[in-house]
Amino acid sequence: MAAALLTASKVTKIFGTGHAEVRAVHEVSLEILPAEIVLVMGPSGSGKTTLLSMLGGLLKPSAGSIVLDGIHLTALKESQLPEIRALKIGFVFQAFNLLSALSVEENILFPAQLRAGGIAAARPRAAELIEKLGLAHRRRALPKTLSGGEKQRVAIARALINEPKLILADEPTGNLDSQTGQEVMMILHDVARDQGYSVVLVTHDPRVEDVADRILWLEDGQLRDRKSEQHNWERDPVCGMRVDEWTATEFTDYKDHKYVFCSSRCRERFDKRPEHYLTKREQSADG
């Protein structure tokens, strides 16, 4: 078995003190292997993003240790972390987080400022990523003119510019429609399979499970067992999409029946006119 790229040991994060104390993550231990795609799932407020922030060196754990590629992140000074983030980790955010004043190419090159040779040395790599991710015709475009899928592709290219060993993605499909989300997942999948990057994905989206090697279930700040084959598939009554009741965060009770939804938008539409979305058979069964 290959040595782990990332090892987290009994990582804990506590916010606040006294009565206001919140234990967001509690003694979480995990290992991420090279070229592995690991999904971190769990209900809202379970500590997924806090865990991701700690793994990415954005947040200092209250206790425990994190070792990335042989470097003890938790032992580093605050001033040493930016370089690790720039060179060892690629970030993909739900909200894309592109810099609005910079073009596609400039956004992709932004983290290259810290690598050896700087931006000039990274230009061939940027050109290659732009080509590979189908952004050649948008090279000089500003983020505001891009579609959601294009923005996320730029964000992925930016995450890959310094050839980090670890990609941390927080809900990368959260702001995308299902088809674009699928495309983005396939890009991340290819990145891990073909180029050997490890990818840690935080998501609510059960459709992403198909591309994952492992699924970690985080609940109340702790990792719990949950086999990936355990599903309870339901149909979203608004869009018809298959939704896993285990992981769904959007649901509502109507006439003593629990309905689950793929997104808050579907739930809101349902809440306004539930009878409109239920078939006559369902309505008569409910009635």
Partner: protein, 369 residues
Amino acid sequence: MLVWAWKSLIAQRGAVLGGALGIAGSFILVVFFHAVFRGESGQIVAYPEHMQPDVWVMQRGVRNMHMATSSVWDWKADKVADIPGVARVTPILYLNSVITAGNQKSFSFIVGLLPDDHRAGPWEMVAGREVSSQGETVIPDVLSNLLDVSIGDRVTIADTSFTIVGLSTGTYSMANSVIFVAFSDLERILSSSGTYSYLLVDAEEGIDPEALAGKIRREVEKVNALPHEEFVENDFAIAMQMGVEIIFMMTVISAILAILIVCFTAYSLVMRKRRELAIAKALGMRGSAVLFGVVFQSCILTLFGFAIAAVFAMIVIPYIPLLLPQLSLTVAVSELLQIGVTALLVAMVGAIIPAYLVLRLDPATAFNV
């Protein structure tokens, strides 16, 4: 980082222009006050500047003309005239007093001229003639407009009535206009006899004024003699001293105003781009690099404001006296450069609070949706 900082500024043209105009406004105040002060100070020494004798002779202990009183016996003028190397001695009487026309008053330098003295009189006339007999006066053209008097009208100087016979130009100053009267009239006002205030000494060709001044000091007792340049420098320094505190206060107030505007604008830019700054930090930008970007933006903003103020100073200020002739405005490039340096300090100080915010910005907030 600088490219991003620059492009972020460009992307917020409205906010940047608004901030720069505010900063420019405060610098324009500084430049304007300096120009008024410099112009007025220049006008205060207009008389000695234009007379240009080689040497000024005055009572011992006196080193200038502005706000000074000097008394030199007439026989000492004869003694000066006898010194080898002296070509001509022109005595004047001089008094700081008030000229009144109707209810309006103006503080002035009153210069008493001997009969047929054209050496120490007005250097440029725009109307009428020079003083030729008692009871006559020549006043500045700008002052005649302000007092609403003209040739033939009467004005009062030190409780004595005079008839305006001529108007001179280049002799007006808000602080001290130069007014010419007959020597005997001023002698009567001063209740003096056989004394002069200053002696304007012209040297023979080839004579060094400094050496001549030294010779006069040695050979004529109880007088001071200074070369023209030194005398004018002393006079200018006194004029500057009298207004320097006011101009310093105005500069400080305007600089504080500029700092507040820079701070507010930079703060607004940081708050608007707070999320992007957090993203930059999350992506590995050091706090110091992001901080440098903020200070860079603050400097660009301030220098932009200063550039607008400088353009105003060089293009608009010279035309203001055409509309307001009573204003003497002089823009000194050296002072503009000083204000430019002040602008950079303003940019640094104005960036302190936004920089503090940037340093405290948590990169983990980049994950917030």
